[in-house]
């Protein structure tokens, strides 16, 4: 479990990431464009985990990719540690604000090759066996070909590959969607031990129960808009906004 209570009691967090009036459109075939995200504003503070929840296609993944500039917002501003992100070398930004995609993509080669990819880009020393143990993979896998791993193992390897760069912000895109209960608990614990007062996590999940377990705050997204930014207590309270309750009822129905 996360040491949530330890952080939730702090009255003032310092913002690690701030975004203001973000919109994102993609050009269509003609002169028109489709807007995928509308005017999103908010912050991610050090020490906290924020869950992003919302129907499929509501723009959660697109939003995460804006925050480390894998995508460029059509309008709006983003700051990391108080700096406009276009003033930071983009590769450095991505090292510190790590995006981990929903589906793990492994580079051709061994497990060790995959762990080495980012580390080589950044000239880092690291202990591959130790990182495998942290994600509950056997160090004997180091010499195995990456594509011999199961889906869940690949997911955990991809996580280790990013974590060993020691990013301050984790942008996690449904990291447990392909995992069973055991694998899910493992990742939740791993992230909780990774988190400390100088770090923060944005965690996209489709599971309200998971949001309740891991997060201090919850964003509810719908059709490219950030509908609500609520503390976990408010999100699950009986006084929650109607739309939140409706969302939760619909979700409960799915389980």
């Amino acid at each position: 479990m996360l040491p949530k209570d330890e952080y939730i009691s702090l009255s003032s967090y310092t913002p690690l990431l701030q975004w203001d009036d973000l919109s994102f459109s993609i050009p269509d075939k003609g002169a028109t464009s489709t807007t995928i995200l509308h005017n999103i504003t908010g912050t991610l503070n050090s020490g906290e985990v924020v869950a992003i929840i919302g129907p499929s296609g509501s723009g959660k993944s697109t939003f995460l990719k804006l925050l480390n500039r894998l995508l460029e917002p059509t309008r709006g501003k983003i700051q990391y540690k108080g700096q406009a992100i276009d003033k930071i070398a983009v590769t450095e930004l991505r090292r510190q604000v790590a995006y981990i995609s929903q589906r793990p993509y492994l580079f051709p080669g061994t497990v060790a090759d995959n762990l080495a990819y980012g580390a080589q880009l950044w000239n880092l020393d690291y202990d591959g066996a130790e990182w495998l143990e942290k994600v509950d993979l056997s160090p004997t896998l180091l010499t195995q070909q990456g594509d011999n791993l199961s889906g869940g193992e690949q997911q955990r390897l991809a996580l280790a590959r990013s974590l060993l760069l020691e990013p301050s912000v984790l942008l996690l895109d449904e990291p447990t969607s392909a995992l069973d209960i055991h694998g899910t608990a493992l990742i939740e614990n791993l992230i909780s031990s990774y988190l400390h007062g100088e770090r923060a996590v944005l965690w996209v999940t489709h599971d309200p129960k998971q949001a309740k377990r891991i997060a201090h705050r919850i964003f509810l997204m719908e059709q490219g808009r950030l509908l609500y930014d609520l503390s976990v207590e408010d999100f699950f309270s009986s006084n929650a906004p109607e739309k939140v309750k409706t969302f939760l009822t619909v979700r409960e129905g799915n389980y």
Binding site: E72, R94, Y99, F107
Partner: protein
């Protein structure tokens, strides 16, 4: 060879026509059009070359070379699917020009080939023709690799790689695709088929050993020119697929 004999040789086409008619291949029209075009194109180029050889004019040589490079670039840029044709054309034009100037330049400077149109033009034709094929293969492979490696390339960018680093495996595959036909043909040359130029020299009365010397020279020159064309196209054409901020650009194939 007398014109009469050339006309009589049309009976070879009659054989093909007869087979097509008998087997209902419906190739008659293509055969006729092809035969007529081959006659016209080759005679036109023959007379133009004769003219230039007689004039021994530098402008004439440069004009012919420019025309060859232009037509070849136009042809190779048809391999462009995701990249706008005009951008592909620019890079390929540069690549073919670079290949021709480097290889022909070396041949002339080292005085391997005399500064005479009857050497420069046919050898340039082989340099440019092979560079054209290599450029087309490189471009089409580059695009298909970028499309199929999209997830991996995004992962590499997310780990802090530059566009160049993220695309390096696609670039390598494209280079191999562009260069390997020449390398393969080098391995079997003379065993399966005598190259056209050697055949021509021998028929025109050169000794086989003399013909072989020229053929070896040509093979080596072509190897260099395909390598130059491939590397120029690959290292140029990957660029428009990324933005200056190491994001996938709008040309990048969607999934």
């Amino acid at each position: 060879m007398s014109p009469l004999i050339l006309l009589i040789s049309l009976s070879f086409v009659a054989i093909a026509l007869f087979i097509s008619y008998k087997e209902q291949l419906a190739l008659e029209k293509d055969l006729l059009v092809g035969t007529i075009r081959a006659f016209i194109q080759l005679f036109v180029i023959g007379y133009v070359l004769q003219l230039i050889f007689d004039l021994r004019s530098l402008t004439g040589i440069l004009f012919i070379l420019a025309l060859m490079i232009l037509v070849a670039s136009q042809n190779a840029s048809q391999k462009s699917s995701f990249l706008p044709r005009s951008i592909a054309l620019t890079y390929i034009l540069g690549a073919l020009l670079f290949a021709e100037i480097t290889t022909m330049g070396l041949l002339l400077i080292l005085q391997i080939v005399p500064v005479e149109p009857q050497y420069i033009i046919p050898i340039s034709g082989m340099i440019i023709g092979n560079a054209m094929i290599a450029a087309g293969l490189t471009l089409s492979r580059l695009q298909s690799e970028l499309a199929s490696q999209k997830g991996l390339i995004l992962t590499a960018l997310a780990l802090g790689a530059t566009g160049r680093q993220a695309a390096s495996s696609a670039i390598k595959q494209a280079l191999r695709a562009g260069m390997s036909p020449t390398i393969d043909s080098m391995k079997t040359v003379g065993l399966v088929q005598l190259p056209g130029m050697m055949t021509g020299l021998i028929i025109a009365g050169a000794s086989p050993i003399e013909a072989v010397k020229y053929q070896i020279l040509i093979i080596l020159v072509i190897t260099a020119s395909t390598a130059i064309a491939s590397i120029t196209v690959a290292l140029g054409c990957y660029k428009p697929f990324f933005t200056s901020q190491h994001q996938l650009s709008n040309y990048y194939p969607r999934q």
